[in-house]
Symmetry: C2
Subunit: 375 residues, 2 copies
Amino acid sequence: MTGFSFRIDATDGKARTGAINTPRGEIRTPAFMPVGTAATVKAMLPENVRATGADILLGNTYHLMLRPTAERIDRLGGLHRFMNWDRPILTDSGGFQVMSLTALRKMTEEGVRFKSHIDGSTHHLTPERSMEIQRLLGSDIVMAFDECTPFPADEATARRSMELSMRWAQRSRDAFGDRPGHALFGIQQGSVFRDQRAESAEKLQAIGFDGYAVGGLAVGEGQETMFEVLDYAPDMLPQDKPRYLMGVGKPDDIVGAVERGIDMMDCVLPSRSGRTGQAFTRHGVINIKNARHMDDPRPLDENCTCPACRNYSRGYLHHVMRAGEIISSMLMTWHNLHYYQELMQGLRDAIAQGRLQAFVADFHAQRAAGDIDPL
Amino acid sequence: MTGFSFRIDATDGKARTGAINTPRGEIRTPAFMPVGTAATVKAMLPENVRATGADILLGNTYHLMLRPTAERIDRLGGLHRFMNWDRPILTDSGGFQVMSLTALRKMTEEGVRFKSHIDGSTHHLTPERSMEIQRLLGSDIVMAFDECTPFPADEATARRSMELSMRWAQRSRDAFGDRPGHALFGIQQGSVFRDQRAESAEKLQAIGFDGYAVGGLAVGEGQETMFEVLDYAPDMLPQDKPRYLMGVGKPDDIVGAVERGIDMMDCVLPSRSGRTGQAFTRHGVINIKNARHMDDPRPLDENCTCPACRNYSRGYLHHVMRAGEIISSMLMTWHNLHYYQELMQGLRDAIAQGRLQAFVADFHAQRAAGDIDPL
C-alpha cells in the first residue's frame, strides 16, 4: 500500500496511540471521525471542522449514491473537492444504511436491492458496486461491503450473516484491486459470539486488509454488552493495523473502546445532539433548552475554548435554540465536535505518557461531580 | 451628541459618502445594515458578518421584546454582548412589525396594543415603551416610534397617520432624553404626497434628531413610485445628518437610493434569499435550485472572493440546497451579504472619486448582459 501506513508510537495497557499516514495527511490515533453524511458535516464549514482537531471525515455511500450520485461527484472532481475537505475521507460501504431500510430492501447472495428513501427509485448495491461508488467518490479509506448483523441474533442467524459478510469481504477485496494511496478495511462480524468473532477475524486476515473494523456493535446491545465484546474482539485483529469501531459513540463509549485497543471511531452523536440542543461537556450533558439556562450568563463550559463557549452565554444559546435559529445548530455542533476532539487529544496524550488509567478515572470523576440536565 | 457624529467626505450629484462615528466604531456611508432580527443574522456568525464588510447591524425591537425580552437581554449585558457583536447596532422601534399584525392589534393615540405571534400574550407598545426597550437593548441608534403608513393611502388617511407619527416623534424625543454616545433618529412619513413629506420633515427638524429616516416606502409601492418619492423626500431632510431609507432593498433599489442622497439602508433580502436559494451577483440573480446548476463546476461568481465562491461549485451549492442542508443557508447568505457589502464599497469609492454615473451605468450593463435564472 504505497502511501498508506500505520504507526504505533506508544501503548498503555491495550490502548495504543500513533498515526495513520495517507497521501492526504496524517490521522492521529485514537481518532474520532465526524460524520459528513451528505457531503457536509451538518451546520459546519469544513475549515471549522478541521479547526476542532479532526484529521478525517466519514462520508456515507448510501446517501451520496442517491443524491447527488457518485457519478456526479466524480464529474465535479471527487468528494474532497466537492465538499472542500482536502484531508482524508473514510466512506462506509452503504451496507449499514441499506439494511436499515427493512421495508424497502431485498437481500440475496449477490447483494441488496432497495428503494431510495428520497424518490423511491430502485438501486442494487453489491460488493462490486460499493467498491465502484467509493472509488468514484475518491475515498481514502474504503470499507468492505458487509451485512451489519442485527442485534439480537441467535447463533445460527449470526453465523449465516457473518459468513455472507466474509464472502462479500473477499468480493470487495477482489473488486477493490490495487489502488496505491487508498486503503481497504475489512469488517469483523459475529455478533456477541466469541468463536464467530475469532473465525471472522481469521477469514479477514486470510484475505488481507489495510485495516480492520469491529462491526455489528452500537446497534442496540447496550454499553455493557458492547464492552464485553470489545474485551476480546479487537485482540483477534492484527496488532499492526488500525482497528475501527463503527458508529461509536457517547463520550464514555469512546473512552472504554480506546481502553480496549480501538484506534478509530465515528458517530453522528456530537453533530446530531448539537442540533437538538444537547451539549457534551466534561461534566456531562447540558440540555440547553432547559428553562434553567434562560438567564445564565455562564458559557456551556468555562474551560472550553470553542467559539460557542468563548463568545456566548448559556442564556444566548437557550434563546437561539428556542427560537429555532440556525446559529444554535452551528454553535452547539461546533462545541460538541470541539469537545470530542479534545477528548481524543486527552486520550492520545494520556496513552503517550502512560497515564491512561488516571485520565480515565478523572474523566469519570468529573462527570460524576457534574451539574447535568435530565434528558 | 457626545461621541456620535456624521461626516461627509465627498458628494457626487446628490449622492454622498462619509462616515458616522460612534463610540462603538465608524459606519462608512452609504451603509448597508444586515438584519439580525432575533439577535442573530440568520445562518451567520457575527465575526463573519463583520468580515463581509458590515459596520453596523439592525436589531428588531418587536422580536426581541417578545423573546427573549429586553429585560433579559439587559440582565445578560445588553444586545451587543448577548449576540457577540461589539460594533454599532441600530434598532427599529417595533412599530413596523406591530402594524403588520393587522388581526392582532389595536391602535390608539397612546400606542398599540397587540398579541404576541409566539404565545398570544398581550403587550402594549408606546413611544415611551419603545424608547425604554431600545435603551435596555443598548442600541446605538434608536428609532423613534411611528406608524408606517400603509400603501396605498388616500391623502386624508396619510395625513392623519403622518400627524400621529409626528406626535409620537415628539414623545419619543422626550422619552429618549439625553444619552451621550447614543443617537435618536426621526422618521419622515407622508406617503407619496410631497406636501406631507415636506411638512413631516419640518416637524421632525423642529423636534431635532441625530439622523432622519425616510419611512413608509418599500411597502409595496414599487420601485418607480419609490424613486419618485426619493427624488424629493431626502432633499427635505438636513444635509448634515445621516438619511436612512428603511427596509430597502434589492441591489438596484440600493443603487437608486444612493444616487438620490440616501446614506443608510437595511433589508432582510440578502439573508432571506440566501436561505431560499437565491444568490445576488453582478450579473443578476441565480436560483441555485434550478436543475441547470446540477453539474456546473463554476462558482456562483468567478470574481467573488466570498467563501462560497472561493471553495464551492454551483453543483455543490445546488446539492446542499436541494438536500436541505444547513450549510446551504450558511454559504448562500454569506455570499449575498458579501455581494451587498461589495456593492456598497463600490458605491462609496465611486462617489469619492466622482465617477458614480459611470459606476451605475456599468452596474446596469453587467446585469443586462447577465446569465440569470427565471425566478
